[in-house]
Symmetry: C2
Subunit: 329 residues, 2 copies
Amino acid sequence: MKKFINHVDDFLAESLAGFAAAHADLVVLNNEPVFVRRKVLKPGKVALVSGGGSGHEPLHSGFVGHGMLDAACPGQIFTSPTPDQMMAAAMAVDTGPGVLFIVKNYSGDVMNFEMASEMSEVQNAIVLINDDVAVEDSSYTTGRRGVAGTVIVEKLVGSMAESGASLEQCKAFGDRINKCTASMGVAFTSCVVPAAGTRTFKIGDDEIEVGVGIHGEPGRRRAKMAPADAIVAELLSAIVDDLKPQPDAELLVLVNGLGGTPLGELYLLFNSTRAWLGQRGLNIGRAQVGALTTSLEMAGASITLSVLDDEMKTHWDSAVHAPSLRWGM
Amino acid sequence: MKKFINHVDDFLAESLAGFAAAHADLVVLNNEPVFVRRKVLKPGKVALVSGGGSGHEPLHSGFVGHGMLDAACPGQIFTSPTPDQMMAAAMAVDTGPGVLFIVKNYSGDVMNFEMASEMSEVQNAIVLINDDVAVEDSSYTTGRRGVAGTVIVEKLVGSMAESGASLEQCKAFGDRINKCTASMGVAFTSCVVPAAGTRTFKIGDDEIEVGVGIHGEPGRRRAKMAPADAIVAELLSAIVDDLKPQPDAELLVLVNGLGGTPLGELYLLFNSTRAWLGQRGLNIGRAQVGALTTSLEMAGASITLSVLDDEMKTHWDSAVHAPSLRWGM
């Protein structure tokens, strides 16, 4: 295993310390329990708290900041954070109107966030993200997994919260975005979890895992390597079958790198995506290309589509200032 | 070879088409000859034109925009662009006060940019970047290589040009930044150039290449895998030996991913970097962590330091709006 690590047990602490130091203008790192919070809170604003296993950076810590999250709770690599992290984070960032927990659908995360939700003295609600159309049920999930669509929910609901919406409104908006958002990914290689030291799964030099999960969970099928256009067609067919957008629908497209795939290939995927959508009369209203929800150094990518409405467009375009997503300020 | 590609020969064109479509608010792609230019030029501003082999994305196309480059000329992967690309780009973005070519020190790039500089009817000057302290002379270079320090030059001189400085002032500023900027990298894996289809170099499962070039050129030594702190100490020792910063110097630190290294590891490297610098009384004035100058999917990273002065800090902090670097607007 070749990674920039001193001791495996210290990896997360040292990485978070570096993150907090690099972005000291925006975030503060809390230890015992561990969470990252906005340096300056906005009194009276519904607070957004997310979290999950580490290894998906910049998700979630990289999205703590103005117009997105108020706090993120990082677990160990690919391991849920604990309820005490979530409760302490919620307590730290609530200024009165309550906390919305944004939770990716993995059994451990769901169990722990639900426990935190029940035990917390802070008024709260949960939005559950399950945008991955690849498979029903998976290694760590009952029902569909939550993947890169989470970034879209965090951006849009973050903007709505910033504009002064209530907890109820934010929760309803989050649920609505989740329903009109779908993703699917493909892996060329496995990642290596530092504590394991070996590849999560084996895959041949000419094989790809279509519908892979962001922890290396199996997808729909193991296939032979194929041209980008064919891979994109398979991913988009599954996504569009699920979303069933109207013929005049306007879409938000997120081409997401899983960690080990060069940016130039992600732009090529976006090019294939817009060709495929264009042939079907589907319009791209907004686009984002980059590694926003990763699986350590896994080579591969995912595509996410959201069916946009005017409210979503407004909240997508609004200013955001987080370590890994910034515009308008 | 597993990459998101349709046909190797079409990779660059399709990737650039996707890039231009994703950032149509900012850039325009010119074909025959190929270059990326700002959509809206600022009349009377010195124009900055860079370029080089592709495969280092987001360098350079991702830095075309307000406060940075006016045009970028992408060559084939790891291959210099041609003089006609550079001359056409210069002609397209010059609004009168001339063009500054920002060139990384590789023999092919230098030869072609010098030819473009001589043949161009546009008033112009060249800033040559040679920030890599790893080795004197290399596979494709006489003298030191130009690597991630290029991003710093592009940001700072871009800001100065935006503020209305003359071609002479921009050239002098670029040369000055280059002199106070030094970098060194390390690779864990090779990348695979699509047209070759095989790894550029072989490296053992327990080996690292210390001082690697951004095309996989040999560095100072092939070493055994080591803790992050030890790797950082070796890179920073070489950089600081070269820069010889004053004891009260304020530094710009860029921890740059080479493509295949997760963001969490880059933040850990930044943490090691600030500890090492802190022990020597060196202050970090500005910091940037991310994959800005890559070598396709190579796992590894580089560290760049610039010795800051007030003028450099002002131009670092100024607004920038390019596809891959954005703040203040």
